[in-house]
């Protein structure tokens, strides 16, 4: 029998693959290499880096105390007496307030998204992998949250809880859980249908081991890209909450709050009043650029 198998077949030796010069990096190494070739993503990452560093080291970077002003320098334009970016309606240095305001705004942008990614992502994987019943229960509950416009939902939750930075974060987290859950569920359902999940199951792996080794790694790409695009939405929403007086209270510096108080003075010093809006705009554009770059770089062939 063995002879027949040998003779009947074409004798082709296995071609030995040539050694490759450069050691192939990991998946993330490859993503980083591709990311470096995209100028938009690099610009976004650089600007974000500067903003984040400035916010972290605000006490050393900011030229003035953001909370103390002088009556004499109220609503002054750019360059007035050492105030590089002018001064606000209480005579406080705008540059210092923008730098300190970045702390709250970035926190409000990133923390809710991280929380929503963990919670919503967990629900999404459970819905996508846990079978029909789990899927129906989780996704229909998410649909209920979807029925509300996100801004209204955030305003209503923050308002009901009393208002404050923590309440704002909780509200934004709740707003982001349903879309995060849906994105994760879709990605998980796609991965779950592939043969390598069945192969893992037939090697005796249980559901948790399959999720840990085979599902999370394949779902992480689209989920991270989506999360990074949510950050700019989160910054804008939290600015809106502060603007309505629901999240950050004076005198704390926050871009949204600064925008709302300076709005009354827009005819006196228009450029100074536009600064917090510009900061929000630049930050969210940078996040969008970075997430676009990530989306492209993570699109590794299967």
């Amino acid at each position: 029998m063995a002879d027949r198998e040998e003779t009947a077949s074409v004798a082709i030796a296995f071609a030995t693959p040539r050694p490759i010069a450069r050691r192939r990096g990991s998946y993330w190494g490859e993503v980083w290499r591709k990311l470096r070739r995209r100028p938009g993503a690099l610009v976004g990452a650089t600007i974000l880096g500067i903003i984040v560093l400035a916010a972290i080291f605000a006490p050393w970077v900011a030229p003035y105390n953001p909370d103390t002003g002088s009556i004499l320098s109220r609503l002054k334009p750019f360059g007035y007496r050492g105030h590089l970016l002018g001064a606000d309606e209480l005579g406080r240095d705008m540059l210092s307030r923008l730098i300190y305001g970045g702390r709250v705004s970035l926190l409000m942008g990133v923390v809710p998204v991280i929380c929503a990614t963990i919670i919503g992502g967990g629900f999404g994987i459970a819905a996508g992998f846990g079978g029909r019943l789990a899927n129906t229960i989780i996704m229909r509950v998410m649909d209920v949250f979807y029925a509300f416009p996100s801004v209204l939902l955030a305003v209503a939750i923050t308002g009901a809880m009393g208002g404050g930075v923590l309440d704002g974060m909780i509200a934004l987290t709740l707003v982001f859980i349903p879309p995060m859950c849906r994105v994760t569920e879709t990605a998980t359902a796609q991965v779950s249908g592939l043969d390598f999940i069945e192969a893992a199951r037939s090697s005796g792996a249980g559901g948790l081991a399959i999720v840990r080794y085979h599902v999370i790694g394949n779902v992480l790409g689209p989920v991270l890209v989506y999360a990074s695009s949510l950050v700019s939405v989160s910054i804008l929403l939290s600015a809106g909450l502060s603007f309505l007086g629901l999240s950050v209270h004076p005198p704390t510096a926050d871009w949204g709050l600064m925008l709302s108080t300076l709005m009354q003075s827009v005819y006196v010093v228009p450029w100074v009043c536009a600064l917090p809006g510009a900061a929000i705009f630049i930050t969210s554009v940078s996040f969008s650029l970075l997430s676009d770059g990530l989306r492209a770089a993570m699109n590794v062939r299967g």
């Binding site: 029998m1 063995a2 198998e5 040998e6 009947a8 077949s9 074409v10 004798a11 082709i12 296995f14 030995t16 693959p17 050694p19 050691r23 192939r24 990991s26 998946y27 592939l194 043969d195 390598f196 069945e198 192969a199 893992a200 199951r201 037939s202 090697s203 005796g204 792996a205 081991a209 080794y213 085979h214 790694g217 394949n218 590794v300 062939r301 299967g302």
Partner: protein
């Protein structure tokens, strides 16, 4: 390792399947909603994907499973691997019933592994090849280093250099390499039986030959038993000792490869063999070996499922289901077919006389 696991001795078949059944209930169209209007209050529509399949696989042999698309080959593989729950039927692995009262599914999976058709989709794109292979041993409780060593060994078994290929990702490999990695993944656990579901169908001819030779060598060296599922008759004939022919979820013929390919007993098998393109232009097929499409697996014809397309169909064929009957000339050969022609006194006009000689099957006439 396989010696210590050999419980029943060489005479005990490694795997016996008895009366496996899997029906899929149809939802929506034609199912519950439409069903009430169309069918009255009858049972909901069901697809008879695998409908009473029984066979046994001897230790060390290769059982080929052939049939056209949709005949239930892949469902059968998934039933065997317990990736789908079976509605009915029994599996006996080397004398032990799988399920209550016998060995459990985890114990079954330590001894039986599967290779899937799509070599790309069956490898995790985010894991390096060696990690994909080491996953099985890790799950089976081996230490990290132990599993890594098993992965290296499995890669060497399939003629891939562990140092060169091990740290690559699936998208960096060719189709043939990927399928060899899949074979290595199945071997890493140290199974006694491998179910190969169309393992070479997605590969081009020269790579097919490589992988088939590799499979034949591994079977000899590791003492493996194969169930080889394919729609490619040439490949099945080449690699199998015995062949099982499926049609619409049922076994229509089973027997030694040589006997089945040289003298098919069932009209369907003959038509299947006659539909192969010939290498010889003078043997060009002018007439369709079999006409029409397989019937809808939801609305199955009564009696023999091949009867509506069969040239020899008579009244008896639609009256009842033919049992598997042995070859009357060589009853001990294990060559059986489910056709009334081979059932003595079945009422078929050809009963007991065998399938008529057909000019098409012999290829003497155009």
């Amino acid at each position: 390792m396989s010696e210590s696991l050999d419980r029943g001795g060489p005479a005990q078949p490694l795997l016996i399947a008895r009366d496996l059944r899997k029906h899929f209930l149809l939802r929506g169209k034609g199912g519950k909603a439409g069903g009430l209007l169309k069918r009255g209050l009858g049972a909901p529509a069901r697809v008879h994907a695998v409908d009473g399949v029984s066979f046994s696989v001897a230790k060390g042999e290769t059982l080929g499973v052939v049939g056209e698309s949709g005949c239930g080959k892949s469902t059968l593989a998934r039933l065997l691997m317990h990736l789908l729950p079976r509605d009915q039927g029994e599996l006996i692995l080397d004398g032990d019933v799988v399920g209550t009262g016998g060995i459990g599914v985890p114990a079954f999976r330590r001894q039986v592994q599967m290779v899937f058709q799509d070599s790309s989709a069956s490898l995790n794109p985010r894991l390096a090849v060696r990690d994909s292979i080491a996953f099985g041993p890790r799950i089976q409780g081996h230490s990290r280093g132990d599993a890594a060593e098993k992965a290296r060994q499995a890669l060497r078994h399939v003629s891939l250099d562990p140092d060169l290929i091990g740290e690559r990702y699936p998208h960096e490999l060719s189709g043939g390499q990927k399928q060899r990695v899949n074979i290595a993944r199945a071997l890493a656990i140290g199974p006694r039986m491998v179910i190969l579901d169309e393992p070479v169908s997605a590969l081009d001819k020269s790579v097919q030959a490589q992988v088939l030779n590799l499979l034949a060598r591994l079977r000899r060296e590791l003492g493996l038993t194969y169930i080889f599922i394919s729609h490619d008759l040439g490949v099945v004939r080449h690699i199998s000792q015995r062949v099982l022919v499926m049609y619409l979820g049922q076994v229509v013929e089973i027997g030694p490869a040589e006997a089945l390919f040289s003298g098919p007993m069932h009209p369907y098998t003959r038509a299947l063999l006659a539909s192969r393109p010939s290498m010889d232009p003078s043997r060009r097929i002018e007439r369709q070996p079999v006409s029409g499409d397989p019937p809808n697996p939801v609305d199955l014809p009564p009696g023999c499922r091949f009867a509506p397309r069969c040239r020899y169909a008579e009244a008896v064929c639609t009256a009842g289901m033919p049992p598997l009957a042995a070859d009357p000339d060589r009853p001990a050969s294990g060559h059986e077919a489910a056709c009334f022609i081979h059932v003595p006194d079945s009422g078929h006009s050809l009963a007991g006389r065998g399938l008529p000689v057909d000019e098409m099957a012999t290829g003497t006439l155009q």
